[in-house]
Symmetry: C2
Subunit: 217 residues, 2 copies
DNA sequence: CCAAAAGTGTTATCCTTACACCCATGA
DNA sequence: TCATGGGTGTAAGGATAACACTTTTGG
């Protein structure tokens, strides 16, 4: 589960939700949330159930299947196969967390249990790719937002500075974002009030199969 | 497993290898090759083992994980989860097939067992997407080839007519294909002899994250 | 010499980045 | 009226599709 955190600060950062193991093996290391699949549920239902134990699942705006990790010795004990998912939580949400659970910046991960570090890396790669040619940003941004906030969401996720002006035009041309018509109040230090936007659709969609958001330079 | 078949004919076509069920349930319908995972192997090893029973696995140039199908009732009997893979066989290869196994054009599938039809559709979508921004064509094309053959491979896979000239320049600029220096003999009806090419790398590689092969029009 | 197939040159178009400039607001 | 951020205009660059034109071969 990813979320862009610190949208009000100067440097918002993409975070991942981790859970610290209380027992051996790998005690003290951090894990992705998850658990066993029951016989009467499919993987998506299972993941939703697992996550419900950690957070308010209502806040999960997107959930998508990723790779399967199946090395026979990936965890000690009986053979276990991990099917990983990408979950996204919109930015202003602040889910209640159990005490053993914390958000961690993806660029500064703590010691990770088993093969969970490559899992996070893989998930981030998929997310970055999809920011280019889908409207997946809806699942990370607030329902209504100012362009500079959206730019922060994209910058934090992609890992490089995005130009607000061009982001606006690219997303407007693709009809990914829409003006609400209202404007936000200007900050305490003055400045022109910004127009409010929302995502045109609050459902995952491939907006332009061949589109690109290129890094600067 | 996909292969472009009929490269020498006027209209080469993308095919998928299917196997006809001899027993209930779904007797007579066609299945993707596969089988159960053993405790001491990971998914890739397992798939290679399963396929070895159908074809010469040496001819498998690319193998890649796709989606997991996990609906509890997707097959009758005990709960079974299917992890699907995309396998590619280069074009001139003609693997020996068991009698219950046949190549079928992906655009004209026979009655499919269980949820195997959407599996094929999903695999083809992934393949088409990857033709644009990776060198995955190496796994479908002959080791050495003439540009018009490569155009046929791309056309069959993508499902629309590709322009030879532009394909050449796109792939050369990305350094995906290389001239061998030799030329093929011209056909019986005359014509200038064509230069032979090969793929620069015989390993899967993302060549240009933001590249596109757009359909005509 | 002609048909056929391969290969090259050139243009038009589209998308995106970069950046200068204008606009609206609070103090 | 000035600083601050928001918004628009415009130009430049890069990649691709379209297509006319040239080259090389067999009959």
């Amino acid at each position: 589960m990813f979320q862009v955190r610190g949208l009000d600060s100067r440097q918002p950062v993409l975070n991942v939700l981790l859970w610290q193991r209380a027992l051996e093996p790998e005690r003290g290391k951090w894990s992705l949330p998850g658990g066993r699949l029951r016989d009467d549920e499919d993987l998506i239902s299972s993941i939703r159930r697992q996550l419900a134990e950690k957070v308010d699942v209502q806040q999960l705006a997107h959930l998508e299947q990723l790779a399967v990790f199946s090395a026979p010795d990936r965890v000690p004990g009986p053979r276990t196969i991990a099917s990983t998912f990408l979950g996204l939580v919109p930015s202003p949400a602040t889910p209640e967390l159990p005490p053993d659970t914390r958000w961690h910046p993806v660029n500064d991960l703590p010691p990770m249990a088993f093969d969970h570090a490559p899992m996070v890396e893989h998930a981030r790669t998929r997310l970055v790719a999809k920011m280019s040619y889908t409207n997946i940003g809806f699942a990370l941004a607030p329902t209504e937002f100012v362009l500079s906030s959206l730019r922060d969401v994209y910058s934090a996720t992609l890992g490089y500075q995005v130009d607000t002006t061009n982001l606006q035009r690219v997303l407007e041309r693709r009809n990914v974002i829409t003006r609400t018509g209202t404007t936000a109040r200007s900050g305490r230090s003055g400045g022109r009030p910004a127009a409010l936007y929302r995502f045109t659709e609050a459902r995952y969609r491939v907006t332009d199969e061949f589109a690109a958001l290129r890094p600067p330079g």
